[in-house]
């Protein structure tokens, strides 16, 4: 709060606001246009990969709401992704539900799961929360293989589902239709996430992140907000899981191992913690860099990936978000030429 008022006082609000929004807005629109146009120029497999990038972006967006906005840790979001994926698969396979109705169901179930996991996690901070969620991630495949649930989950074999056909007789391939469907969902949820961050609840969460004790003493119900943040974050990741299951047409326990959670976490850090558009950058990293690493060296792909990660942490400690912020700051300070001390808003 204090920082905001001082910034407003130091700089006339109008030009600064307009300048900060303009390039970002135009860039955002350009990205959306590019995302809409691309699938018409590439092969179906590439379209599928791009769908998965959007799916990952959605999951990382969820994680970003948790870590970037409310300051909680999670190495276990693969678990919520798995719950979302299984919800979609089970509903389609056993319930005969249409694919688009599985998304709200997956979202709701994951919200409940995240909220419930968030309740005990409230008492945990930093390392402890990382540990609890790490355990969740490692244990997930075993939960999914449980014998009593086999009737529903298909056990080790998993469930195969069908790819939906484009509706209204649209002349798109299945992959293209699914891509646009995912894009629409992702844009909707991104818009919602921005509004959440800008809302009263978002401010409360930011306050909790920056100083939990101060937030509590100002009357923010930390427990409730933290659990809610966990729930909403899980909701995003769950919807991503459902979309991912539909795109891959298959769910099985071993698709949801610890490395999936790691991919989300790495994507979050690479994209920039607290910078929502970074989710897309992080998702592209999570999707393509392992391939690049494999291309560089078949046997040592994991090692190459690890080295790339360490290099990134050294070079861009705040991820792509930090890089963009630094560039933006340089541009604004050049334009306003000394009249402002650069944006200090994160």
């Amino acid at each position: 709060m204090a920082m905001e008022t001082s910034a407003v006082r130091a700089v006339p609000p109008q030009p600064r606001g307009a300048m900060a929004a303009d390039p970002g807005l135009w860039l955002g629109l350009a990205v959306i246009v590019a995302l809409c146009a691309l699938p018409f120029f590439v092969r179906n497999f590439v379209v599928f990969q791009m769908t998965m990038v959007l799916v990952y972006a959605l999951a990382i967006l969820g994680l970003n709401l948790l870590t970037g906005i409310s300051g909680q840790f999670s190495l276990g979001h693969g678990a919520f992704y798995a719950i979302g994926a299984y919800t979609a698969a089970i509903l389609m396979e056993h319930g005969g539900v249409a694919y688009f109705w599985t998304l709200p169901a997956a979202g709701l179930i994951c919200f409940a799961a995240g909220f419930l996991f968030g309740l005990p996690a409230l008492r945990l901070e930093g390392v402890y929360l990382a540990l609890a969620t790490f355990a969740l991630a490692v244990a997930t495949p075993q939960f999914l293989k449980l014998t009593p649930l086999e009737r529903w989950t298909g056990g080790v074999q998993g469930i195969v589902i069908n790819k939906p056909d484009p509706p209204f007789g649209l002349r798109l391939s299945q992959d293209q239709w699914l891509y646009f469907f995912t894009l629409a969902v992702a844009l909707l949820l991104y818009w919602a996430a921005r509004n959440i961050v800008a809302s009263r609840s978002g401010r409360a969460l930011l306050a909790i992140r920056d100083n939990p004790i101060a937030a509590r003493s100002m009357g923010v119900d930390t427990a409730r907000y933290k659990a809610l943040a966990f729930g909403v974050s899980a909701l995003y990741t769950g919807v991503a899981g459902a979309l991912g299951a539909i795109a891959v047409q298959f769910v099985a326990p071993d698709s949801f191992t610890f490395s999936l959670s790691v991919a989300f976490f790495v994507g979050l850090v690479v994209g920039g913690v607290g910078w929502l558009p970074g989710a897309l950058v992080g998702a592209a990293f999570a999707m393509y860099v392992p391939n690049v690493a494999e291309h560089l060296s078949k046997g040592l792909s994991g090692a190459v990936y690890g080295v790339i990660l360490i290099a990134l942490i050294y070079l861009m400690p705040a991820g792509a978000g930090g890089l963009v912020r630094a560039i933006g700051q340089r541009l604004t300070s050049r334009r306003t030429a000394g009249s402002a001390t650069g944006g200090d808003r994160a």
């Binding site: 540990l131 790490f134 355990a135 244990a139 449980l146 004790i213 990936y305 942490i313």
Partner: protein
Amino acid sequence: MELLGQQIIAGLATGAIYACMALAVVMIYQAIDHLNFAQGEMAMVSTFLCWQMLQWGVPYWPAFVLTVALSFAGGVVIERVVFKPLKDAPVLSHVVVFIALFTILNSAAGFIWDFTIKPFPSPFGTGSFLGTGLLSKHQAGMIGVTLLVLTLLWAFFRFTRTGLAMRAAASNPESAQLAGIRVGWMIALGWGMAAAIGAVAGMLIAPVVFLDPNMMLSILLYGFAGAVLGGLGSPAGAVAGGFAVGVVENLAGTYIPVIGGELKLPIALVLIVAVLVVKPNGLFGRMTVQRV
């Protein structure tokens, strides 16, 4: 009743594995205030080093000692090269680097020694301990070595200057620095010791679970569970916690029908969450008070 007794003893035997790992986890937690998610992989690489030396015809105990020494050096080098430059980076960056180390070590080990499962010899021989049929010789040896390592550690921290300096550096870095302690090197020392203990753990575990690059992930989870149960600040607590986790795992597997063989990892999850919620400092840990 006899079944119960047997299960408890068998639990203690597996618990020794977790106790070893938990000890390594606590060591590094003391030094850097973080949990090292790459700890298991570091131990795995150490074990492979020992295996390689054995393949080259080095006798067991020299290979053992050499491996511990190399692991110690390796731990120090990792701290100096990778983590020292990131000293002031946020926790998130540290976790990412842990993950990066994890994948690097895992993939390098797979590349050098491939992913096939290898048997690993036990220095204590095969057969049952004292002819009772409850414990194998190796399990008894494992419990013995764990307790020995714990005693050595306790003596080190209690009676040596370096041990005292390490404790000071961990509990209050600024004051320790002002008192002339080289805090940076104490942290590196902590890494080295953790790597060495991890190496011991790895070499003791390998005869039981067999050697392969992925052998450590679930064991690390149990090690964490043990460390949390005992309290992350207390080496003795971690060992006790590790043994307790082994017993709980075994009893739950025997007496709760759903769990059987397939729910063992979720037990660790439930244990971790339960302990953190009910008694976040663990059974033997001290309460930490946050200063505002």
